[in-house]
C-alpha cells in the first residue's frame, strides 16, 4: 500500500458485509456522535445528511434466488481523493499524519464541486438550516462543531473521538508520536461487529490482516482513488458490486439493481 512514507499512522476501516444485516445502527450512532442534523419532513429524497449511508444492493434476480446485501458507505478516505484538489477554498484537507480526509465546514463556501467529484456520493450538503427540536441542542456532542446551512459535510472517521483520545493520551503522559487508538462511533455501535477500524500501518494489526484477505475488495478500485475503506465478503456476487456497472454484469450474469 503506497502511502505517506514518513507517517506511522494511517487509519483505515474494514467492513465485513457478511456480518452486516442492515440494521442501521451505524447510521444512527454516527448521526448522534457527529451532530448530524435531521432535515425537515418535507425534504426531498437525496437531501438528507448521513455520513454513513447504508445502501441496499441486490443480485438482480427474482424470488427465491433474490439476494440482498446492505453496504454501509462512509467517506472512503481515498489515498488519491478526487475531492481534495477540486475544493476552491482549501476546505477539504488530507491530514498526512492520520490519512484522514477532513472537511472544514466553517471554511466551505458551498460550491458542491467536491460532491460532484466524489464517485461514492459520500458527501452531503446542508440544504436546510440545521434546526433542532427545542431543547435537543442539549443532546449535541460538544466534541463536534455543528454545521450551518449551505456547507458540505462528510465522515471524518470521528475526528472528534480522535481528538479526545489524543487529549487522554496527553493527560496520561504518553508521547505525542505514539499512535493513538480509538474507535469511531459506527464501529463501536455495530451490534454484529462488522466494522473494524484501526491503523493499517500497525505491524500485525487487524486491519493489515483483513485487507490482505482474499475476500477483500474496494469500491471502484479501477478508478485509482485507492479508498481506505475495505469491504469483505465470501459471496462472489457481493464482491462484484465494487466493479463498475457493466463489468459487474459482464461475464457473471448478475444484473445489478440498486434498491
Amino acid at each position: 500500500m503506497e502511502t505517506h512514507s514518513k507517517a506511522t499512522v494511517c487509519y483505515a476501516m474494514v467492513i465485513d458485509l457478511d456480518k452486516c444485516v442492515g440494521c442501521g445502527t451505524c447510521n444512527v450512532a454516527c448521526a448522534i456522535e457527529n451532530n448530524v442534523s435531521v432535515p425537515p419532513p418535507e425534504a426531498l429524497e437525496n437531501r438528507g445528511l448521513t455520513w454513513m449511508r447504508t445502501q441496499r444492493v441486490d443480485n438482480g434476480k427474482a424470488w427465491p434466488d433474490h439476494r440482498t446485501v446492505t453496504v454501509p458507505i462512509p467517506c472512503q478516505h481515498c489515498e488519491h481523493a478526487p475531492c481534495i484538489h477540486v475544493c476552491p477554498v482549501t476546505a477539504v484537507q488530507l491530514d498526512e499524519s492520520t490519512g484522514i480526509i477532513g472537511q472544514i465546514p466553517t471554511r466551505c463556501m458551498g460550491c458542491r464541486y467536491c460532491m460532484a467529484a466524489c464517485p461514492y456520493h459520500a458527501r452531503y450538503f446542508n440544504w436546510f438550516d440545521p434546526k433542532w427540536p427545542e431543547g435537543l441542542q442539549d443532546t449535541l456532542n460538544p466534541d463536534v462543531a455543528p454545521r450551518m446551512r449551505g456547507v458540505a459535510e462528510k465522515c471524518n472517521f470521528c475526528h472528534g473521538r480522535l481528538d479526545r483520545a489524543r487529549e487522554l493520551a496527553a493527560a496520561e503522559g504518553r508521547p505525542a508520536a505514539e499512535p493513538v487508538h480509538y474507535t469511531p462511533a459506527c464501529a463501536e455501535a455495530c451490534p454484529h461487529g462488522a466494522i473494524t477500524f484501526g491503523n493499517r500501518l500497525e505491524e500485525g494489526g487487524p486491519i493489515a490482516a483483513l485487507e490482505k484477505k482474499p475476500e477483500a475488495f474496494r469500491l471502484l478500485e479501477a478508478l485509482g482513488t485507492a479508498p481506505k475503506v475495505t469491504y469483505l465478503s465470501r459471496e462472489p456476487w457481493i464482491r462484484r458490486i465494487g466493479l463498475s456497472r457493466l463489468d459487474r454484469v459482464r461475464g457473471h450474469g448478475d444484473g445489478p439493481e440498486g434498491a
Binding site: 440494521c23 442501521g24 444512527v28 448522534i32 448530524v36 435531521v38 419532513p41 449511508r53 441496499r56 435537543l136
Partner: protein
C-alpha cells in the same frame, strides 16, 4: 496661510483617507473579522459545555432492556452507547436505544396535562389545570366505586412485571375491583401459549439458543428484530440456523437452510416436521416418544392428530416440497440439542396460539425440554419477587367492548403493537375517558387518548426492568435516572396517589413515589436474600456472585449504579408437567382448520388478491414514538420502510399495473390506507409487506398524526382478532388526491 475649505480639498482629503487606510492594518483586520463572522453565527446550535462523565443505566425503549452507557456533558445526557460485556443482547444497543438521549426532547412531548375533545372540530391538545383534572378524574372513580362498578375502571400495563405494575394492581384493588390488563406482544403471547401447554404456574419458558446446536426459526428477522442478536449464524460460530421465511431476507440468505414457506403456513409446517419426527421415530428418546401417546380428549393423542399432517399433504399449501420437510426434520433430529423459535417478527404482532402450540410441541419432541435441551424455564416475575397475589392480569382482548368508564394506559413505553381502535372500543360510549400516562402525544397510549398525564420520559426517573419474555435467564436491573427531569413531568406513582386521594380514599404507605422507591428496594432485597445469580457491573465489566455479597444493601446499591443482576442457569421442566395438546382441548380442531394457511382461515376478507404481511419494522407499532434521528433509517437511507410504503415484488406490482413509487390504495376487510409502491424482489409472488413502524412522512412532526389515518394493526384487523400479522388485501392505483 489661509484655511480655505473647498469641495475639491474635501474630496482630496477623503481620497487620501481611503488610500491611507488601505495601507493601515484596518482593512485586513476588517477582512479577518468578516471571515470570523461568516464562520460563527449566533444561530448555529450550541452544544452543551462541561466536564464529560458517564452513567450506566438500562434502556427503557423496548422489553429487551439493554445495558446503556449514558454520556453526560455537565448535567446534560447527550448520548447513549452500548455496554461491552453486558449480558442483555450481548452488550449491544439498537438504533432506538442509541437515540435514547433525544427522547426527552421529542417534538411530540406533552408539556403539561393535556386534554382534547375528540368529537370537536378542532381536536387539538390543550394544556389544562392539573389539579382540577385529577380531581375530576378522582370523582369519576369514586362514582364508579359507589355504584359497585369497580370493573368499569381498567389500567392497561404495557410492561408488566415492574414495581410500577404492582402499584397499579394494588391501586385497582383498592378501587373496588378494577381491571388490570396487559396487551401481550409477540413474546408475551408466545410465553403465554407455552404456559397453556404446561402446568407450570409460576414458571416462564426460557429458550437459550446458545445451548442449541440447531435453531429452527420461524420468521424472526435477524436484521432489525429485537431477538436477532441472540442468534449468531453458524458460519460465525453459532448454531446451525434453519430459517422459515417467506421472503428471501438477509437472515434467510445467511441461514444454513432456508424454507421459503408461504406466509401463514407456520403451523402446518411445524406439525409436518413433528409428524416426521414421530412417525419416523426420530424423536429424542423413548421418554419423549411417550409424549406423543399421552391420551387426550376423545382418546386422541398427539400421534393421531399429527397423522393428518404428513409432509405430502402439507407441502401443497406451504409451498415446500415433502423432501424439504423430511430433510429438515431429520436435520433437526440429528442436530440436537435443537431449539425451535416462533416469536416471528416483533413488529407484526403475535403468532397465533395454534402456531405457538405447534412450535412448542416440536420443541418437546426434539427433547428441548429436559436436562440436555436448549429450552429451560425460569421463575415468572411475580414469583421471583415474592409478590402477594393481587388481581390477576387479564389480556386487553378479554375486556368486553363498551364496558369501561375510565381506561388508564401506561404509555411510558413509546411503542408497542397495540391497536388504538381496540383501546377505544373498550370505552363506554363517548363519555368513556381514555387516560394516557405518557410523555408523548402519540404512540400506543397517546394516539387514542382523551387526556394525557405528562409522566417522566425515559432516563428521567428510576424504574426497574425485569427480564423480557422468552429470555434465557431471569434478570433484573434499574433504569437509573441519568437526566434532569423536565419541570412539568409527573412521577406516575405520585400522580396515582393524588388520583387516589381525589377519589376519596386514604393513600396507604405503599403508594406514591416513596412506595415505588420502597418496592424497588424490596425487590433488590428479595433477590439478594435468594442468594442466587450474579451481578454485572458495567463500570468495570466485572461479574460478582450474589452469594458473595455480605451487606444486605449491596445489591440495591449496585443496581442504582446501573448494574444488572442475572440468574446463572435455567431450570429444567419435568415431562409430567407437559400436555402436548394443551389444557383446554380443541387445539387439534384448530390446527386442522389452519391446514390451508392462516390468511385463508381468517374470517372476513379472504377474497383479496394479495397476502399482506405486517411487520418488519424496527419500531413495533405504527405511529410509535421514535427519536428524530431515526429519520436516518426511515427516510434517508430507506433501511426501515415506513408504514406508508408497501413492498411487493416487481412482477406482482406490474401484474397489478403499478409502477415503482406509484401511489396506491391498499384495502383490507378492516380498512384502507394510501401507500407508495416499493419494489422488493425478495418477496414471493402475490405477497405484500407493510411495515408496522413509524411513517417516515410523520417523523418528528406530531401534528401529522391525523385522526383519519389507519394504523397498520387496525388495517389488519387487530381490534377484532388476536392474530393480525397476515390478512388478505387488494391493491389498486390511487387516482384521487386523498385516501
Amino acid at each position: 496661510m489661509t484655511l480655505d475649505l473647498t469641495r475639491r480639498s474635501l474630496l482630496k482629503f477623503m481620497g487620501g483617507a481611503v488610500v491611507g487606510s488601505v495601507l493601515s492594518p484596518l482593512p485586513w483586520k476588517l477582512l479577518d473579522d468578516a471571515a470570523i463572522w461568516t464562520q460563527n453565527w449566533s444561530w448555529i446550535a450550541r452544544p452543551p459545555r462541561g466536564p464529560v462523565s458517564h452513567m450506566f443505566t438500562t434502556c427503557q425503549l423496548c422489553p429487551v432492556g439493554c445495558g446503556m452507557r449514558a454520556r453526560l456533558i455537565g448535567a446534560s445526557f447527550v448520548s447513549a452507547w452500548p455496554v461491552v460485556g453486558d449480558p442483555a443482547a450481548a452488550g449491544t444497543l439498537c438504533p432506538l436505544g442509541l437515540a435514547a438521549a433525544q427522547m426527552r426532547y421529542h417534538p411530540s412531548r406533552v408539556r403539561g396535562v393535556a386534554r382534547r375533545a375528540r368529537a370537536a372540530a378542532d381536536p387539538a391538545w390543550r394544556i389544562v389545570d392539573a389539579d382540577a383534572t385529577t380531581g375530576e378524574l378522582g370523582q369519576r372513580l369514586a362514582a364508579c366505586r359507589s355504584r359497585g362498578a369497580g370493573d368499569s375502571i381498567a389500567i392497561v400495563d404495557l410492561r408488566p412485571g415492574r414495581a410500577m405494575s404492582r402499584l397499579y394492581r394494588e391501586f385497582l384493588a383498592r378501587q373496588g375491583g378494577g381491571i388490570y390488563a396487559t396487551a401481550p406482544d409477540a413474546w408475551q403471547a408466545s410465553a403465554a401459549a407455552f404456559a397453556g401447554m404446561a402446568t407450570v404456574g409460576a414458571l416462564a419458558p426460557a429458550p437459550d439458543p446458545a445451548r442449541a446446536r440447531t435453531v429452527l426459526n420461524f420468521g424472526a428477522p435477524l436484521t432489525a428484530g429485537w431477538r436477532g442478536r441472540d442468534i449468531v449464524p453458524h458460519a460465525a460460530g453459532g448454531p446451525r440456523l434453519i430459517q422459515v421465511d417467506p421472503a428471501a431476507t438477509i437472515t434467510a440468505a445467511r441461514a444454513d437452510r432456508w424454507l421459503p414457506a408461504r406466509p401463514g403456513s407456520e403451523a402446518p409446517v411445524a406439525l409436518a416436521l413433528a409428524h416426521v419426527l414421530v412417525f419416523e421415530a426420530l424423536a429424542a428418546d423413548a421418554r419423549v416418544n411417550a409424549l406423543a401417546d399421552l391420551p387426550h380428549e376423545n382418546g386422541s393423542t398427539l400421534r393421531t392428530v399429527l397423522a393428518d399432517f404428513a409432509p405430502e399433504r402439507v407441502a401443497a399449501n406451504s409451498g415446500l416440497t415433502p423432501a424439504q420437510l423430511r430433510d429438515t426434520a431429520r436435520e433437526l433430529a440429528a442436530g440436537r440439542p435443537a431449539l425451535v423459535l416462533g416469536v416471528g417478527d416483533a413488529g407484526g404482532g403475535p403468532l397465533g396460539s395454534e402456531e405457538e402450540a405447534a412450535i412448542w410441541n416440536l420443541n418437546l419432541l426434539l427433547g428441548a425440554v429436559g436436562p440436555d435441551g436448549a429450552l429451560g424455564v425460569r421463575p415468572a416475575d411475580t414469583a421471583l419477587f415474592d409478590e402477594p397475589a393481587g388481581p390477576a392480569a387479564r389480556s386487553l382482548s378479554d375486556i368486553p367492548d363498551g364496558s369501561l368508564d375510565v381506561l388508564l394506559v401506561d404509555g411510558s413505553f413509546p411503542g408497542v403493537p397495540v391497536s388504538a381502535e381496540q383501546l377505544r372500543r373498550k370505552l363506554r360510549g363517548p363519555d368513556g375517558l381514555l387516560v394516557a400516562l405518557s410523555p408523548y402525544a402519540g404512540g400506543a397510549a397517546g394516539t387514542p387518548a382523551d387526556l394525557i398525564l405528562p409522566v417522566f420520559a425515559p432516563g428521567e426517573w428510576v424504574e426497574d426492568v425485569p427480564a423480557p419474555a422468552l429470555a434465557a435467564r431471569s434478570s433484573y436491573s434499574w433504569a437509573t435516572a441519568v437526566a434532569v427531569p423536565a419541570p412539568f413531568a409527573l412521577h406516575p406513582a405520585e400522580w396515582l396517589a393524588q388520583l387516589e386521594a381525589a377519589s376519596g380514599l386514604v393513600v396507604p404507605p405503599e403508594g406514591g413515589k416513596s412506595g415505588h422507591e420502597a418496592e424497588l428496594k424490596r425487590r433488590a432485597g428479595v433477590l439478594q436474600s435468594r442468594g442466587s445469580g450474579q451481578v454485572f457491573d458495567p463500570a468495570d465489566g466485572n461479574t460478582t456472585d450474589v452469594a458473595a455479597m455480605s451487606d444486605p444493601d449491596l445489591l440495591a446499591g449496585a443496581l442504582a449504579r446501573g448494574a444488572r443482576w442475572s440468574d446463572k442457569a435455567t431450570l429444567t421442566l419435568a415431562d409430567r408437567d407437559v400436555r402436548p395438546l394443551g389444557q383446554g382441548g380443541g387445539l387439534a380442531a384448530r390446527w386442522r382448520s389452519l391446514a390451508g394457511g392462516r390468511a385463508d382461515a381468517a374470517k372476513p376478507g379472504a377474497t383479496g388478491s394479495l397476502l399482506l404481511m405486517a411487520g418488519g419494522g424496527l419500531a413495533p407499532a405504527a405511529g410509535a414514538i421514535t427519536a428524530p434521528v431515526l429519520n436516518k433509517l426511515y427516510r434517508e437511507s430507506g433501511l426501515q420502510p415506513g408504514s406508508r410504503q408497501l413492498a411487493v415484488s416487481a412482477t406482482t406490482a406490474r401484474a397489478l399495473g403499478l409502477a415503482e413509487g406509484k401511489s396506491a390504495l391498499l384495502t383490507t376487510a378492516h380498512g384502507r390506507r394510501r401507500v407508495k409502491v416499493r419494489f422488493d424482489n425478495s418477496l414471493p409472488p402475490d405477497v405484500a409487506r407493510i411495515a408496522a413502524g413509524p411513517d417516515p412522512a410523520d417523523m418528528g412532526d406530531p401534528a401529522a398524526s391525523a385522526d383519519d389515518r389507519t394504523d397498520i394493526p387496525d388495517l389488519c384487523g387487530a381490534a377484532e382478532r388476536p392474530v393480525w400479522r397476515l390478512v388478505r388485501a387488494d391493491l389498486q392505483e390511487a387516482h384521487d388526491g386523498n385516501a
